[in-house]
């Protein structure tokens, strides 16, 4: 009997005690690849959100009181003053007021497209691009704006984003915990299968020992078998998962394009990470089987 080019003196190939191993490892690799892919996608989203907002902030200027024309003129003057202050502030790359059309577009999802928006005293928004990593001192900038422009306030998006990122990281941590638990469960399964196999083949193991086989000679045969079975199960689990990951990417690309979640497809390196999972499961099974055999034999004569 030859496994991976190495002979097996133990009758493990027809061993009923380990036949179930691929069917247990397949769902484990399936769950593991879901968790891993989810983690990678989530970290990608967090990174994108972080990048998107780390270089920007928004200055809001409340609409000036008075009739529509007076309010509009005074608000425009405040905006120009705020832009001057922003432009003179170190760390600010660009400050640009949003046009009335852009404001209307932002409010359209809530209020619809109506000419009424033009007559409403809407606050003015200034989109500010700041130097990533070398941004302005926000407290000082806020104080200057507050003093020079009545009704101006700064929103750097970080309060709501930090909560969202915190939640996302907790979910990602949970996914990593799931991967660790699955790895532990896989190891426990392999330990059980290996010990059962050793009990079944005790007489053969005794003969091999008496002939002069080392513990490692015997352990390698169990390890090769565990590797082979775990690889089969792992590949099966991965094959089951490919349509799901592919579908998620397709859904993200075609249904949520431009939305808040952005692209949900797995990046190339993520695919490699998921593709490596069956081999990782097989190596884990091989290592576990080998260590189990060594530990068990050490307790024998």
């Amino acid at each position: 009997m030859i496994l991976f080019g190495a002979r097996s003196d133990l009758p493990l190939k027809n061993d009923a005690t380990s036949r179930f191993l691929p069917w247990l490892i397949a769902p484990m690799v399936f769950l593991c690849s879901i968790a891993l892919a989810g983690t990678i996608i989530l970290y990608g989203m967090i990174g994108r959100w972080d990048r998107d907002v780390s270089g920007t902030l928004t200055v809001e200027i409340a609409a000036a009181p008075g009739d529509a024309q007076t309010s509009a003129e005074q608000t425009r003057a405040k905006v120009e003053a705020a832009i001057r202050i922003l432009s003179d502030t170190p760390g600010v790359i660009q400050a640009r007021a949003l046009s009335q059309d852009q404001l209307s577009a932002l409010l359209a999802p809530w209020l619809g497209k109506t000419d009424l928006l033009r007559e409403m005293p809407l606050p003015a928004l200034i989109d500010v691009t700041i130097s990533p990593g070398h941004g302005p001192d926000l407290d000082a900038l806020s104080a200057r704006l507050d003093k020079a422009v009545e009704g101006a306030s700064i929103d750097d998006h970080r309060v709501w984003l930090s909560r969202l990122i915190g939640l996302s990281r907790a979910i990602a941590g949970l996914a990593v915990a799931v991967v660790v638990i699955i790895a532990g469960a896989t190891s426990a399964t392999v330990i059980y299968a290996t010990r059962t196999g050793m009990a079944v083949h005790r007489e053969v193991i005794d003969v091999l020992h008496l002939i002069g086989a080392t513990d490692d000679y015997i352990a390698r045969q169990f390890a090769d078998r565990a590797f082979s079975l775990a690889l089969k199960g792992g590949v099966l689990g991965l094959l089951l998962n490919i349509p799901i990951l592919g579908g998620l990417g397709f859904f993200g690309l075609h249904r949520l394009q431009g939305g808040f979640l952005g692209d949900l497809s797995l990046p190339f390196l993520g695919w490699i990470g998921v593709a490596v999972l069956p081999a990782a499961a097989a190596f884990l099974a091989m290592l576990t089987a080998r260590l189990t055999v060594h530990a068990t034999l050490a307790r024998m004569v």
Partner: protein, 230 residues
């Protein structure tokens, strides 16, 4: 294959060895003897005298309850676990119950000692078929033990014990299932190995063999050793 022991000193030495299983009576009592390198001895005695137990002590399947067993100059009680495979590889054993692996072919059973010693397939194919031919089993090279007769299994067990040219050959009733002609042929094989330097200890009831081959005897009686007798 095996390293040859220099033709001096003792391959096996028992000093005041006693053996009991659990809390039962002593199976072996105060056993003292030595097998010089290159010697050939018979081990005789009635059934239940302790012959197989004595052999088990030598091939390291059992530890003595008391006393000291020395194998190739190494006190077996002091030997670490990782040292045992190397010691066992220097010992060829023909087990009374054969201990063949039923799922392996005759060739693979006989090749086991070579493979556990790290020999390649070329070496296996070079030596095993020749030896199987010599013991009259060339037609059964791919047969598995359950399909072989008792005598054929015994010859497979003997072939496995000698294939690696061990320094010490232990045989527990090696001719119990074969007729006299084959028994003599197998004993000549043992003698040939002995001439090449292998120390041989054969446990047997076969008085005909003992009287024809004229080797010294170790006689066990109720767990006590009488002899060696010429």
């Amino acid at each position: 294959m095996g390293r040859k022991t220099p033709n001096h000193g003792n391959v096996v030495q028992f000093d005041s060895v006693g053996l009991r299983y659990d809390h039962g009576p002593e199976i072996l009592q105060d056993i003292n003897f030595a097998l010089p390198a290159g010697s050939f001895h018979f081990l005789t005695g009635p059934s239940g005298a302790g012959k197989s137990s004595l052999l088990r002590l030598i091939y390291l399947a059992q530890k003595p309850s008391r006393g000291r067993v020395t194998l190739f100059g190494r006190d077996t009680l002091l030997a670490r676990r990782y040292e045992l495979p190397a010691l066992r590889r220097r010992v060829g054993v023909v087990f009374q119950e054969f201990k063949l692996l039923d799922h392996l072919s005759t060739l693979d059973n006989v090749a086991l000692p070579l493979r556990v010693a790290g020999a390649g397939e070329a070496e296996v194919q070079k030596f095993v078929p020749d030896l199987l031919d010599w013991v009259g089993l060339s037609e059964h090279i791919h047969a598995k033990p359950p399909t072989l007769s008792g005598g054929q299994k015994q010859r497979v067990a003997i072939a496995r014990a000698v294939i690696a040219r061990p320094d010490l050959l232990l045989a527990d009733e090696p001719t119990g299932n074969v007729d006299d002609d084959i028994a003599m042929r197998l004993m000549y094989l043992f003698e040939e190995l002995n001439k090449l330097g292998t120390t041989v200890l054969v446990a047997t009831h076969n008085q005909s063999l003992i009287s024809r081959l004229q080797h010294p005897r170790l006689h066990l009686e109720n767990g006590a050793l009488l002899g060696p007798e010429p």
